[in-house]
Symmetry: C2
Subunit: 321 residues, 2 copies
Amino acid sequence: MDMVLGIDVGGTSIKVGLFTPEGKFLDERKITTTELVSEQAFAAVTGAITAFLAEHDAGPEDVIACGLDVPGPVADDGTLGIIANVELDPKGFVAAFKAAFPQASIAFVNDANAAALGEMWAGAAKGANSCVVIAVGTGVGAGIVANGRLVAGAFGAAGEAGHVTVNRDETRQCGCGRYGCLEQYASAQGIVRTYLEECERRCVKPVDVEHATDTLSVFRALADGDECAKYAVEVMCDYLGLVMSQISCIVDPELYLIGGGVAGAFDTFAPMLRERFDAYALKPSRAARIEVASLGNQAAMYGSAYEALRIRRESRTPSLE
Amino acid sequence: MDMVLGIDVGGTSIKVGLFTPEGKFLDERKITTTELVSEQAFAAVTGAITAFLAEHDAGPEDVIACGLDVPGPVADDGTLGIIANVELDPKGFVAAFKAAFPQASIAFVNDANAAALGEMWAGAAKGANSCVVIAVGTGVGAGIVANGRLVAGAFGAAGEAGHVTVNRDETRQCGCGRYGCLEQYASAQGIVRTYLEECERRCVKPVDVEHATDTLSVFRALADGDECAKYAVEVMCDYLGLVMSQISCIVDPELYLIGGGVAGAFDTFAPMLRERFDAYALKPSRAARIEVASLGNQAAMYGSAYEALRIRRESRTPSLE
């Protein structure tokens, strides 16, 4: 029976999703790893996957496609850029997978891009020809789909919506080295920081915030009528709506999906985000739908499986040079 | 002998380009028209094209593809939006063309998008997989190509780079009804206005400017060391570079081509534009080339011919609903 793997590659573990070629999710398994740079580490991973397959009465030869989503840039031609925080030898990794699963096409996909593909394949964007999935979490990332195909970018930087400059007067530096990026205001970290700063400005005691990305407490404060929390969410929606209007001036998608941790509060901020987007967008683009992503943290698993299947159909192999 | 037509549809005339299916330009002809809304007007156009074909020993049955570029929105599915300044009944126009050239696939393409496709097919973007062609003329428009395919947008508004908001403090309204659009600063009109305003601000007599889009005089003044002209071109490059950096965060193209009337001064402003783009862009995207478009005002003719050929290959017919 043909099987497809979608694999989240992380720093200390990988998460393997098992799918049918039609996109039906069967099961998932978390595998703890050492640094993915040695034959031994690769063998441990492929061995664990083979055991996982056996539980589903499948063998290594049943795997027809295997997608790997990585937290770093992957260009249009499948080339992998530098991945921060993950020790990975991509050439060795692919060679080990090719040996272990000889029938499988192998694909690398950036995680935000994989999430977009996953939502297109089996989630809230199913049937859409164009869609932008914006993951609002610790940072802000996006996956762009146009003409039914992922736009990865010539240099792997497509969908870096978190780094669109929205405030040229910002004096604080963003993690990317530039100033006034969307991510500085519309990420979980940005929301919490705006909240705390606004409390300080108004000389108001903030609610307890457990950590730098604890938006749960900020949204709870908002529900309790906290004006500073309201302000932080307004700033988030204003900048995010602005960037979405700019994205519409470039690729004009039919659908925006909001994912990532902050999407848990989607129902709370959606009306405000809609209002801000409509205020900034060109008239025809206001017909775009804004909805919540539906696959949660499984989206990238789905999407990388999908991309590997697509590559199989087009018999393309990714370049590692 | 198979022939392909690429036709610029304007308000009072159409310009017909004759191509081989391989993209070789053979000849062009301007045909004066009345409003394109009656059988009589359509017959006059198709008759003139048939006579033009006869000069090249070709008949109506030799036309295998016919692309029509229009100064208005065309969505991903080929649907035509409202076209300002051109009286056109698209359904009747297509029906007349189908009757006159029965072998031809027919396609509508937005003019800026057509220019991008033309440059990809036979111009400076030949061989590129992704490219953004920015036409800097009376206004600012762009054509976005990703994964080798034009991105027209779900609502026909992809590539509306001229309406990316770059200055939220602007109090003057843009033609689109919004405020602080790129077009207000980086178009021919914007450059001339910035120049005149800066002269007034500094109480300096401006050089003679013949009309609202006479950038030639401004660039001539710049060459003569005029500080206000330098300022106007700096503002143009700064905002255009900023928007290009934002485009790179969305689709990350390998190549930018600058076309339109202002591209005549490309050599003058290119170093400044490059510097501004590099200052704003994410590091990987700075590898993008910035060059001048090569097909001039023939680009859209080429591109609409190309799109009609592509549709023929994919046997798709455009929707007019």
